[in-house]
Symmetry: D2
Subunit: 350 residues, 4 copies
Amino acid sequence: MTDQPLYAPIPLQWVGPLRFSGNVIDGEEVSVPLATYESPLWPSVKRGAKVSAFVDGGIRATLVDERMSRSVYFRAEHAGAALAAAEDLRTRREQMQEVVSGASRFARLVDLHVQHAGNLLFVRFEFTTGDASGHNMVTLAADHLMPWILQLHPELEYGSISGNFCSDKKATAVNGILGRGKNVVTELTIPRRIVQRLLKSTPEAIARLNTEKNLIGTTLAGGLRSANAHYANMLLAFYLATGQDAANIVEGSQGITQAEVRDGDLYFACNLPSLIVGSVGNGKGAGLETVEENLRRLGCREEREPGANARRLAVLCAGAVLCGELSLLAAQTNPGELMAAHVKIERNAR
Amino acid sequence: MTDQPLYAPIPLQWVGPLRFSGNVIDGEEVSVPLATYESPLWPSVKRGAKVSAFVDGGIRATLVDERMSRSVYFRAEHAGAALAAAEDLRTRREQMQEVVSGASRFARLVDLHVQHAGNLLFVRFEFTTGDASGHNMVTLAADHLMPWILQLHPELEYGSISGNFCSDKKATAVNGILGRGKNVVTELTIPRRIVQRLLKSTPEAIARLNTEKNLIGTTLAGGLRSANAHYANMLLAFYLATGQDAANIVEGSQGITQAEVRDGDLYFACNLPSLIVGSVGNGKGAGLETVEENLRRLGCREEREPGANARRLAVLCAGAVLCGELSLLAAQTNPGELMAAHVKIERNAR
Amino acid sequence: MTDQPLYAPIPLQWVGPLRFSGNVIDGEEVSVPLATYESPLWPSVKRGAKVSAFVDGGIRATLVDERMSRSVYFRAEHAGAALAAAEDLRTRREQMQEVVSGASRFARLVDLHVQHAGNLLFVRFEFTTGDASGHNMVTLAADHLMPWILQLHPELEYGSISGNFCSDKKATAVNGILGRGKNVVTELTIPRRIVQRLLKSTPEAIARLNTEKNLIGTTLAGGLRSANAHYANMLLAFYLATGQDAANIVEGSQGITQAEVRDGDLYFACNLPSLIVGSVGNGKGAGLETVEENLRRLGCREEREPGANARRLAVLCAGAVLCGELSLLAAQTNPGELMAAHVKIERNAR
Amino acid sequence: MTDQPLYAPIPLQWVGPLRFSGNVIDGEEVSVPLATYESPLWPSVKRGAKVSAFVDGGIRATLVDERMSRSVYFRAEHAGAALAAAEDLRTRREQMQEVVSGASRFARLVDLHVQHAGNLLFVRFEFTTGDASGHNMVTLAADHLMPWILQLHPELEYGSISGNFCSDKKATAVNGILGRGKNVVTELTIPRRIVQRLLKSTPEAIARLNTEKNLIGTTLAGGLRSANAHYANMLLAFYLATGQDAANIVEGSQGITQAEVRDGDLYFACNLPSLIVGSVGNGKGAGLETVEENLRRLGCREEREPGANARRLAVLCAGAVLCGELSLLAAQTNPGELMAAHVKIERNAR
């Protein structure tokens, strides 16, 4: 047994370029790095990227919201006492921001949500966290807020610094409803002939498959906000390549794919309401240099206002997700194509 | 832009040894490799491992079930036709096994489940897959079964090779209920003084936190079979270190932690019903050698009956999950300990 | 305060006739009784019924499965002991049927499913229950099975006669996946001109609304197998009118509506996998006579093989659900129609 | 077939009295009417009521929040346009309140929440609705808001007056997280000897059963915010007796039961975050008089500030839920008691 520095080298390829427009990146073509043991992922995303290059404006990516959450919880004598404390806290947003500012230069308290369970009081703090994904920042902020609250409300007792109403790396509904990480919508309207030529499919076939598989199939499976084919694959590969906490693909993969025929063309959209990425605080030890280099190549090491590099990163990640999702759905409209592709690529890899 | 072989090097440490007993590994001490950018994970699992060494028999790990699934779907004229086809298929298990055998030497069809949605027929095939995690094997099997079924039932139309009732890498309920991957239960009964000395906590505090955070807190968050603190972290690190398809932490993280005071001691258990691991077909390209070496050190490259190495791997993984889960919960019973540990470790890492 | 017999009189109307075909009712027109405080429900179902009368074959209703469940749970020393007991029980299906036969003439054990949680063993017994909905029958059966199992396995300890893995009157995924009650699919293919004339809408508008509201909207809401507009309303009204345990609308309402344009016409389907109804053991006291009369008028008091009257009842109920669902969706495609209808009907009621 | 006025007479009993304290009812004893075909419900609630009478202060009921929701949805050209419209609407709360005031004297817009799905914009309006449960009031309000918004934002297109993000009578997570109806917490701390004498159980047995059945068992079943034994039964009976829209038991039943041993006594709490009741607008036609009389006897026909009668009603309902929940859990700690009680009561009923 040893503690010497080792590493697991995950194969990485740059894929692209993807063409982007929208409220974060407008009019650029950017390639993305994907680190994965699953080599069929690269040509899959590549095909989607190629489609984006043929579309006017490419992938329209809209960042809708951003925040990072941490929920703590307290024990009160009874629900009445918990309610009184909650009502008091709601009036002290500014004071709480002061406490938070003592813990972090970047953390801004943007909202808080409360849940009662008998005498327990769960408080979900929601922050913007600059260019960091914010796990540590919000924990540190909560770590400053808790003693401050306990001093203010001696009738409350410490429950835990994390009460699972955050909710970190677990399959829950709260993150999609209240927000956690970046909320990014990506859209692509693909001319019919591009669908036919590059995706070997039709707008009708893809739209139908999306309804039957992603919407109805997931519902049958007892799915929770997870109407997609394989967001998790692209998220994992992008997260590993850019030094993210990749266990956040658990909530990150909870999103909805839409596909619709519009005037004979294909409208295709992916919704990622819980995209947890940061452009600082990434990677560690052996992985650090690779990650730094990748972020630099992605243009996320520029001098920008706080948070802008992270938002750029989120949008690039969301673009990769859309490309892979589109490509797999197209493949699954054709009997046999999926497996044939797998077999061929796996063989080439050997 | 280039396609030359690159990799993301994820820092890796061996942690342990963990002591095991149960129906797969009985009476061994084994260390486990964890690859992660999140360095606090190592000491966390290490602390749990130390606890296991102080407990008679260590971690009792019980493998309860194993199977890998793939759901396909068909379109019928109407639900009546879909029902007739489903009833016919249920009588042809042996014939289907023959078809499957043509696709794979190892795949054994162990069950099938059907869902109806109007005229759509979703069929979830469930296989044992030897030492492989089985993603490709079951896709290949489904790829053989579909044309065979379509020939047998010309009234059915191809829907898709994957209908999301599988369900792969998505937050759903079906995998926990019907099984996907290995189902492993790990248990540890920890003497009170060990809880106090090594975990700086008490059985009462840990049991209470588990109820309030993992069970109640997750329920408040709208959680789906996810009553735990952070299974995803350990799963990701173990999966990356052993060449698994780490996006399967999405369903893998859906499990339940139990904690109970028994005669003054702490009974602690983790349930992982969807642990998708294999000891063959792991890693690719640059990662291959590291993965091979890690599997060898874990004792998963021995000559055993098909499936035995994979079951061993699953149990080792589940043990790591229990160690990290126990350690974090213990830490969260103490105000401030969690953050202090984070700050210290992060600083040391720089 | 008094205990003298009182009653809440729920207004009831007969609506229809609905036209049916399928594997339970073939070629009949039947009206259905709906008891509700919400008077707009009647014209809504009425409109759907009228549509069914204009369609060849009317509502195609397919009964896909039937079973009633009860889960018990036991405590074992540890998971290994729980697993051994579970494996033993799986081999004793015939003996268990004998025990069950001592409790009920009609209950037939058709399947059992097991869940492990640490040392806990949950067993979900699944029975057919003749013409009864089966709540009491399966409780009685479980009440006979538990002591028999505890005697056979003295290493197990009584947990509870109901372990919530049943799962009765709660929002869970298990009932849709494993089945509880009757599983009925209803389908209607409506000519475009009927959609236009009777529903004041188009196949395209209804299909689109279904995708955006029932599938996407419910997914956004964190829905669990509940992709419909208002199944609960029709279920409640039918259950009250026919003496059912109407709290079962909780799981009953978890179903999926489909709508698709086919050759210019509208394909519309409702899926009710957890329809818990019985034609015997219904109503009590003051309600008994009304219920009896309603069941008689529905043709569910005929001499048939055991279970046939209950299946007929389930199909009639499912038909009413389809009619109301179709009508509301059509209304919601038109801005203002819904509210106008509400206002008018409420006024007329006064 | 006829449309003449009929009714389904649901047997009704008054049960109690229940003793109450808290922020709505303080220091009263009130009996509650329960209308149900399931006669064992009455003695079950009765037993809980008797317990409440023996406890100092009785049931502590805390009303935590109240609001009624309706979500509409719009189609935009793309997500960017949807985002711009959403941001604009957030600044127009006062103008929207003016529009709402034109629709209803009582409706007050208290919050709004937005969800994006590609180009779709879902807006969840949240109102207080005085003494009404508010279904019609919020529909009417939405019916006024939609044309106003469409005029203000001609770039938006009508989607639907109800987008299922409300979410009405469906198993979703949104209502518990954002609130729908009254949010009521009820608590009871029961001396050990009362648990033993009246409930024939112990605090330890009930706490353990609650953890294993309601929390773990429901989690295994893939439950969604539904950690209870049978809230739906009491809700249905109370709703029918007081003229509510009883289909709202679907979301109403999604709540969490807590049970904990405190200093040897039993702390028992029920959480009902989606209790949809009103004291006006109830019942119709034949049911009207009974409902009126019941509301009068409950003290919900007094002259109070708007909303106060409805809050009183919610608390009374929540008290009945707690009584029935406590009683059933206690019964299930004893092998055989449950079934024996059923058999006896059913026999007496005949």
